[in-house]
Amino acid sequence: MAKLHVSTIINGEPQEFLCDAEQSLLDVLRGPLGLTGSKEGCASGDCGACSVTVDGRLVCSCLMLAAEAEGKSIGTIEGMAPGDRLHPLQTKFLEMAALQCGICTPGVLMAAKSLLDRNPDPTEHEVRYWLAGNLCRCTGYDKIVRAVMETAKDMREAVR
């Protein structure tokens, strides 16, 4: 079977790749494209470790065919830090130790950024619901939620 040719934009840069019809976007990101920040936890859309954005919408890249990326703009964790500076969420996660083993962290960060892009002043309840699709087996979530709330506060103050 001939490979499919896909033209897409990844983290703002035009990108082309070849894939098989049944390959997931996650497979292609981690394999041929070498973007291993997105993780495979469950491969069934339950854990959120593979979270990316597609035209600004948060999705599980394990539940999307690579072929569906044609003409889309994909955002991955590799595009989160602008240049050499970490994104405020990344800095805060380090400061507040909102991670332990780190497997879930790229997905959590992508999901949290997607929330703050839409809602700069979320309640704790909103943070917990928005992140309900990101499983973490280390932290117990509390540090994650607090780090997101603190980042939101810092970012709001920085805008003032």
């Binding site: 859309g45 919408r57 309900a132």
Partner: protein, 289 residues
């Protein structure tokens, strides 16, 4: 490597042609949140995947001049949630679709997929049944419309003819004084599959219920439209006696299974409880419209 093929046609005619030509070995890809999981587990190995998201009619929401809504079958839950008018007119339909999965799943999962996956526990379906949604399907022999409750045939099976694709849902014009609601019972607060789901849509005129529909999920092989429950509400002021009668009708309609998530007795009992609660919320919303 298997020899599965992927196509993403730009028109519905092309999609139907490709889908029908593969005669049963093809699968429609909308949000993929069921399809990709089933493929990966080995439950399904289609020879052709027809991605319908490049077809404009299937990915848009339109409000008609008469106040009806046409929702493309491949519209995601997130897009439903963000539509300013749909949420106001049909809050029950939107809240039902939005209960499915996480933020990430909402970015992809569609009402068309939820219907065609034909799980008795699909959350959007009872709300669509209560809303009296009609489904437009297109196949090799053209287009037809059918009530949403006529689509599922049993767990994982539909009544669609070979080559037919669900194109859109149409929600009818909404009279003044109307409201809808959907509630489901799950053992946790989120990220679970309905043990029972109940959608209620009704119209009030000076406090009297003049129209009602009830959809009940996860208590039979298919989602049910419970006409006896609707009849018990119509003509009443939704007083305790009317709600008791409608709840009894819901319990009488149940033909559930026993499984690890709920027993027959529990599901049956809860069907009546959810009917009362959903009807109360729908009535409260109707009073504001």
């Amino acid at each position: 490597m298997t020899d599965v093929q992927y196509v993403a046609p730009g028109t519905l005619d092309e999609a139907v042609r490709a889908f029908a030509a593969a005669s049963g070995a093809a699968r429609i890809l909308a949000g993929g949140t069921d399809l990709l999981v089933q493929m990966r587990s080995g439950a399904l190995s289609p020879s052709l995947i027809v991605d319908i998201k490049k077809i404009g009619e299937m990915t848009t929401i339109e409000e008609g001049p008469d106040g009806s809504f046409r929702i493309g079958a491949a519209v995601s839950g997130a897009v439903l949630r963000e539509h300013p008018r749909l949420k106001k007119v049909w809050p029950g339909v939107v809240e039902a679709a939005n209960l499915i999965g996480s933020t990430q799943i909402q970015g992809r999962a569609t009402a068309g997929g939820n219907l065609c996956n034909a799980s008795p526990a699909g959350d959007s379906v009872p709300a669509m049944v209560a809303a009296a949604a009609t489904v437009t399907v297109q196949g090799p022999n053209g287009r037809r419309q059918l009530p949403v409750e006529a689509v599922p045939a049993g767990p994982g099976r539909t009544n669609l003819a070979p080559g037919e694709i669900v194109v859109s849902f149409t929600l009818p014009p909404r009279p003044k004084g109307s409201g809808d609601a959907y509630l489901r019972m799950i053992p946790r607060t989120e990220m679970d599959i309905a043990v029972v789901g109940c959608g209620v849509s009704l119209t009030l005129d000076k406090g009297t219920c003049i129209a009602a529909r009830v959809g009940l999920g996860a208590v039979a092989p298919t989602v049910l439209s419970v006409e006896e429950a609707a009849k018990a509400l119509i003509g009443s002021k939704l007083d305790a006696a009317a709600l008791d009668k409608a709840a009894a009708a819901c319990r009488a309609a149940c033909r559930p299974i026993d499984d690890k998530r709920g027993t027959v007795a529990y599901r049956t009992q809860i069907a009546g409880v959810l009917l009362k609660r959903a009807a109360t919320i729908a009535a409260e919303r109707a009073g504001r419209n």
